[in-house]
């Protein structure tokens, strides 16, 4: 659905076109790094940095790139920003960089970024592209946050690393394993579809 105002460019990423629940993009990081809230948020922020910077740059240079080589050029641009993010994390946030391990380089293949470059940034003005990227980032972070909160609370009885459930609570180990990610994501997806149906019916 084409959005008309700046607000729509931004807010559609949160719900209507949420990258995770609506477009089902970026499933790999969603499943892989949401076992704790800190990891989820760090991944979300690193992805946002790449998404916003590459949307900005791609929108800026879209006229110069012949359409036959656009995908190759986009990937190089995205990979450049990912490597920068990876290096910066390693230099200034050593612990987070260690926790995210191999997932930061994998942002390159996060379909949200290439998807937005192809679907939006290559067709729209710089300002709108940045707004779109910010909205998508916010939607992605929101999804990561919800999923990682559920998984950390049920899987470790903690939130942001602090134990919040008493010793009576036996952590559900499955929630920190990949299977827990699939289960949580499936339930979240079902809920979001149900909510959307209700909303459409009026």
């Amino acid at each position: 659905m084409p959005s008309k105002t700046a607000a729509e460019d931004f807010f559609k990423g949160l719900w209507l076109e949420n990258p995770v629940f609506r477009q089902m993009l970026g499933m790999c990081p969603i499943l892989a790094v949401t076992n704790t809230v800190v990891n989820g948020l760090a991944m979300g922020l690193a992805t946002s940095f790449v998404l916003v910077s590459s949307s900005f740059l791609i929108s800026l240079i879209k006229k110069l790139i012949p359409s036959q080589v656009r995908i190759a050029s986009y990937i190089v641009v995205i990979a450049t920003f990912v490597t920068i993010a990876d290096r910066l994390l390693a230099a200034y946030f050593w612990d987070i960089s260690k926790a995210l391990g191999p997932f930061v380089p994998l942002i390159v293949v996060n379909c949200i970024i290439l998807g937005r470059a192809e679907a939006f940034a290559s067709k729209n003005t710089v300002g709108r592209s940045v707004l779109d990227a910010l909205g998508m980032s916010a939607g992605f972070i929101l999804a990561l946050f919800v999923l990682s909160s559920i998984r950390e609370i049920l899987g470790s009885g903690a939130f942001l690393g602090f134990r919040i459930l008493g010793p009576w609570f036996e952590p559900w180990i499955i929630m920190v394993l990949p299977a827990g990610a699939f289960i949580t994501l499936g339930i979240m997806m079902a809920i979001s579809i149900q909510v959307e149906r209700k909303r459409k019916r009026g």
Binding site: A72, V77, A91, I173, M175
Partner: protein, 205 residues
């Protein structure tokens, strides 16, 4: 300009700019990243050798480095062994602290691991795993206690606890420590653990 030459120009330019940019960022962050790694090793040496104020590298080979922890007067307060081995999923890197006579384990710190979160990753957990390594006899090979027992005093001097549900990860750590033990004993017999020896260098890692 024809289409094909335009494609070549654009792709070359994009690659060139990206390469230049990355080289700059790599150059700017390289020192800091190296420093982070070095600090981590240094912190680990001081943590596993109580009373040490500096670490001096006395032996190095692949995935196996021995540091002497020296106190303020330059006396050897203990040894720190940086070593690695295969875990359940990936390499486990750890730092083992020994007393000056190589007869006792001071403590153990896991530096890097990618074990299963919530199960094998508990090898980094102080209360359920690492505390059981403190004060263990290093003159004989260690073994695992299964099923695990508590408190730490209830285990014998050469026994360490297994993590419930993560036997493979526990065994991996045991294996790494025991093989480091053999190497250390051999080095000591060859007289290579002298901090003033010719192999010794101020910690440059």
């Amino acid at each position: 300009m024809s289409l094909s030459s335009r494609m070549v120009t654009v792709l070359t330019l994009v690659g060139f700019l990206s390469g230049g940019f990355l080289a700059t960022v790599g150059q700017l962050t390289r020192e800091r990243i190296a420093l982070n790694k070095k600090m981590e090793v240094e912190r680990a040496i001081l943590a596993v050798v109580p009373g040490a104020s500096a670490g001096r590298m006395i032996h190095e080979e692949k995935d196996f480095t021995v540091y002497a922890g020296q106190d303020k007067d330059g006396q050897v307060a203990g040894f720190a062994v940086y070593t690695a081995g295969t875990g359940f999923q990936d390499k486990i890197v750890l730092m083992l602290g020994l007393d000056a006579s190589l007869s006792r384990i001071n403590s153990l710190t896991i530096l890097e691991q990618k074990e299963t979160p919530g199960l094998g990753a508990k090898i980094t957990d102080e209360a359920s795993f690492l505390v059981y390594w403190e004060g263990k006899d290093f003159r004989q090979p260690l073994s695992l206690r299964k099923p695990p027992a508590a408190p730490p005093e209830s285990l014998s001097a050469s026994e360490v606890n297994t993590i419930t549900g993560a036997t493979i990860s526990s065994q991996a750590v045991l294996q790494i420590v025991n093989s480091a033990r053999e190497k250390i004993i051999k080095l000591n017999e060859e007289g290579k653990l002298n901090p003033e020896g010719k192999d010794a260098k101020q910690n440059r890692r």
